[in-house]
Amino acid sequence: MNGLLFLIPIALFLGFAGLAAFLWCLKNRQYDDLEGAAWRILDDDKAP
């Protein structure tokens, strides 16, 4: 029972963190161009 006292908050926190990360990605327009993102990984990075 004592374990639950911190396990549940941790589980909830992780869940919230996941949700927050998803909403943040959405807000930063990272889901706007899924097709482009799929192609971009084929590009080499520009030379430093």
Binding site: L12, G15, D32, D33, L42
Partner: protein
């Protein structure tokens, strides 16, 4: 129009300058001011396709002076460019993109490509997913035997997560249910909303009262599953809409207005009033209805009337909005404003026709009309029976009723239709067919009669040269002359000669005094000798020795003396028209052709395709009336057409398809748009639609069988939250798996198509209409 060289040249420069000016105005109008002299402009780049394109544009533009950053969005086919005022301007950026080898144009208002609805659905999906995972985590602990206090704590936490999550993520369902209820209808969202809300309220009450069972997990995971279906459905339609929008013609949102002093200004189309004088340059579309005030030109009216032959019009002639000026600048007097032009009239016809179609009830809603009352009655019955059987224990009774609502599986029913439609749309998309919405797929499966338009649908819509005979020494002259002109006939000549003349540009530089005579043809001189390319009467003016037995459908090229080169033009069928028509006939369709073109040319095409029911010279109103009549007396009509004149017919058919080459309005009206130029897309789409309809029926059948087992159990009170969760997931999985079978449907249209392609294309005799 003036005919001497210098004024023609200055006129060309002048018209180019005006066109540039107009593009710049448009680009500036839709740029966003970011402050500090920085502006952001979105350019539509339709050719964006791959990683290479992203790189070429982003790298190419970032090195351009005055550009801060450039980012390409491949899904929306747009380039977002941030630039500094004073250092560059959007027109130069546009030219820079063109310099990199891409065509680009300005965004049009109302077409930004943003999708707030999709974003809302994604957020709702994220929230529902988060809540479902966490509640399931807690529920599993409860089911695996948590102690009473722990279980209660877990239920409380679940409730605290579930309530806001349901109110946030359930909105799409609640809104749709409310809309249906307020118009006294029932749709699938009514039982869903009711089940979710009741389960939530009851579980919360139970938790606070210290009860043992709570349905939080069922309520939230129900929403989560259904949101997946709904989001997939939404993105499928968005993708189709986007693909169709990209096909839009590069149409300016402005027209050139000539004021009394002769000054020309670019004015938004909306601001045009009757009586204004407008200039229409070669290659432009006539913006509003009008009459020609000065100048002459050939016009391509094929999108408006369905006639392929360009018509020559001079002062006083009436022009419909939407026809294309092929050569020679003209000034026109506007007869109507934008909203009263020919195009707008067609739009009204479409709206009227669509009204009748909106009466169509989707399969899911037809099902809901039977299903929802049945579920509600069962739940009510469960409540009443238990209420009296337990001697007034309303809590147990309500609990059983909720279990019935939850377990009757609105989940499988909610997924039964959208999953099939999404898979069907994906399969069609791969074959180059865009589906506008799921209801169209259902209507498509019901059609039994195909009505074709002729021009641009069964035929290619462009003129082809079928044969050149006579003086072959003139080939290279013909090529040189034709390649200087934008007229469709000239393009057909160059296309024909491309494959037959070597060293063909020989005469290109020797052309002198080249001019285009609207309504006649082309004239030039080479080494002091005059040549004319055009209709027989026009050529005969310089070479009277030509006998008069050439009919209107041939084009001649001749010098002042000597034998002419005789060019025969035809309207050719699409390569696979015969194949597609044969297949449709084999599938049991009856066929007819309705065209705006002359009866004789329609007859020829109909004869080639062995279609006995055809009629020509039809106005848009005629077409609508005929389709309505067919719909009533025979089987539901599938309309295939492309032109502005077909748009209303497309809207009044039970289902409709248009080729990608269709007019804007035709494409937007049609249920399906096929991108590749093959008519075999029609039987293919119909096959997929029938298969999809069959699968939807099977899914409903599965859901009903499942209900026959689950409902009695629920009514007897055997359904605990654990059983409900398992039953719900199992039924959804079965439905989704069954829908996947659509991918196995064999509807391959390619095998026969390739066989046909090896044959030479069917050539039709030319229509008789004179140039």
């Amino acid at each position: 129009m003036s005919c001497c060289d210098t004024s023609l040249a200055t006129e060309a420069v002048e018209s180019e300058r005006q066109a540039d000016r107009r593009v710049l105005d448009e680009l500036i109008a839709q740029s966003r001011d970011l402050g500090n002299g920085a502006f952001a402009t979105d350019f539509v780049v339709p050719d964006l396709r791959c990683a290479g394109c992203i790189r070429t544009i982003e790298d190419g533009l970032s090195g351009f002076p005055g550009i801060e950053r450039a980012r390409v969005n491949l899904s929306l086919k747009r380039a977002h460019v941030v630039w500094r005022e004073g250092k560059t301007d959007p027109l130069s950026i546009l030219r820079a993109i063109e310099g990199l080898g891409f065509s680009a144009h300005a965004d049009r208002p109302g077409e930004s490509g943003a999708d707030p609805e999709g974003r809302r659905l994604l957020v709702a999906l994220g929230v529902a997913g988060f809540a479902a995972m966490n509640i399931m985590l807690l529920s599993v602990s409860v089911w695996s035997g948590a102690e009473k206090e722990t279980a209660q704590l877990f239920h409380l936490i679940s409730g605290v997560i579930a309530i806001p999550a349901v109110f946030f993520a359930g909105q799409p369902f609640f809104r749709s249910a409310y809309k249906a209820l307020s118009s006294w209808r029932l749709n699938m969202d009514v039982p869903i909303s009711l089940a979710v809300l009741l389960a939530l309220a009851m579980s919360f009450y139970e938790t606070l009262a210290g009860g043992e069972e709570a349905y939080f997990d069922a309520a939230v995971s129900l929403l989560f599953f259904l949101l997946i279906g709904r989001t997939a459905d939404h993105f499928m339609r968005e993708r189709a809409r986007g693909a169709v929008d990209q096909l839009r013609r590069l149409r300016p949102g402005t027209a050139l207005v000539v004021d009394e002093a002769g000054e020309v200004t670019a004015t938004p189309i909306e601001a045009i009033e009757p009586g204004m004088h407008l200039r229409v340059l070669p290659g432009e579309i006539v913006p509003v209805d009008g009459t020609i005030a000065t100048g002459t030109a050939d016009f391509d009216r094929s999108l408006v009337t369905g006639e392929t032959e360009p018509v020559f019009l001079k002062e006083g002639a009436r022009l419909e909005a939407g026809i294309v000026n092929l050569n020679g600048a003209v000034d026109i007097k506007a007869l109507s404003d934008h909203s009263h032009s020919f195009t707008a009239e067609i739009t009204k016809l479409i709206a009227a026709a669509e009204g009748s179609r909106s009466a169509y009830v989707r399969a899911a809603d037809r099902m809901a009309a039977i299903y929802a009352p049945a579920v509600h009655c069962l739940a009510a019955a469960a409540f009443i029976i238990w209420f009296f059987a337990t001697g007034g224990d309303w809590q147990t009774a309500l609990y059983t009723a909720i279990a019935v609502l939850i377990v009757t599986c609105p989940c499988a029913l909610g997924l039964a239709v959208p999953v099939v439609h999404v898979i069907a749309a994906t399969r069609l998309f791969r074959e180059g067919v865009m589906l506008k919405d799921g209801a169209a797929l259902e209507r498509m499966a019901e059609t039994g009669h195909v009505v074709f338009d002729k021009t641009g649908t069964l035929t290619k819509g462009t003129m082809d040269v079928s044969r050149m005979s006579g003086n072959r020494a003139l080939f290279s002259v013909a090529y040189a002359m034709a390649s200087r002109s934008q007229h469709p006939a000239s393009k057909a000549i160059t296309a024909y000669l491309d494959t037959r003349v070597n060293g063909r540009a020989d005469d290109e530089d020797r052309l002198e005094d080249f001019r285009e005579v609207p309504g006649g043809g082309l004239e030039t001189s080479i080494a002091g000798r005059r040549y004319r390319l055009g209709n027989p009467a026009f050529v005969r003016e310089i070479n009277p020795s030509l006998a008069g037995d050439f009919d209107g459908a041939v084009t001649l090229l001749a010098g002042e003396e000597g034998a002419p080169l005789v060019i025969e033009r035809t309207e050719s069928l699409r390569d696979d028209a015969l194949d597609a028509v044969d297949r449709l006939r084999a599938m049991g369709f009856s066929l007819s052709i309705l065209s705006g073109d002359a009866q004789t040319s329609v007859a020829r095409v109909a004869h080639q395709l062995r279609i006995s029911d055809y009629s020509g010279g039809k106005t848009p109103e005629d077409k609508v009336a005929r389709i309505k009549a067919l719909d009533k007396t025979q089987r539901p009509v599938l309309m295939i057409g492309d032109g502005l004149n077909d748009a209303a017919a497309l809207a009044s058919g039970h289902a409709s398809m248009a080729p990608a080459s269709a007019s804007d309005i035709g494409r937007r009206t049609a249920d399906f748009v096929f991108l590749r130029d093959n008519l075999t897309a029609i039987p293919f789409t119909h096959k997929i639609a029938t298969a999809a309809a069959r699968l939807v029926k099977q899914n409903f059948g599965l859901a009903i069988i499942y209900n026959c087992i689950a409902v009695p159990l629920a009514m007897l009170g055997y359904v605990t939250p654990l059983v409900a969760a398992i039953a719900m997931s199992a039924s959804s999985l079965v439905v989704v798996t069954n829908s996947m079978r659509l991918n196995l449907v064999n509807a391959d249209s390619r095998i026969v198509r390739n066989k046909r392609q090896s044959k030479s294309p069917v050539i039709l005799p030319a229509p008789e209409a004179a140039e």
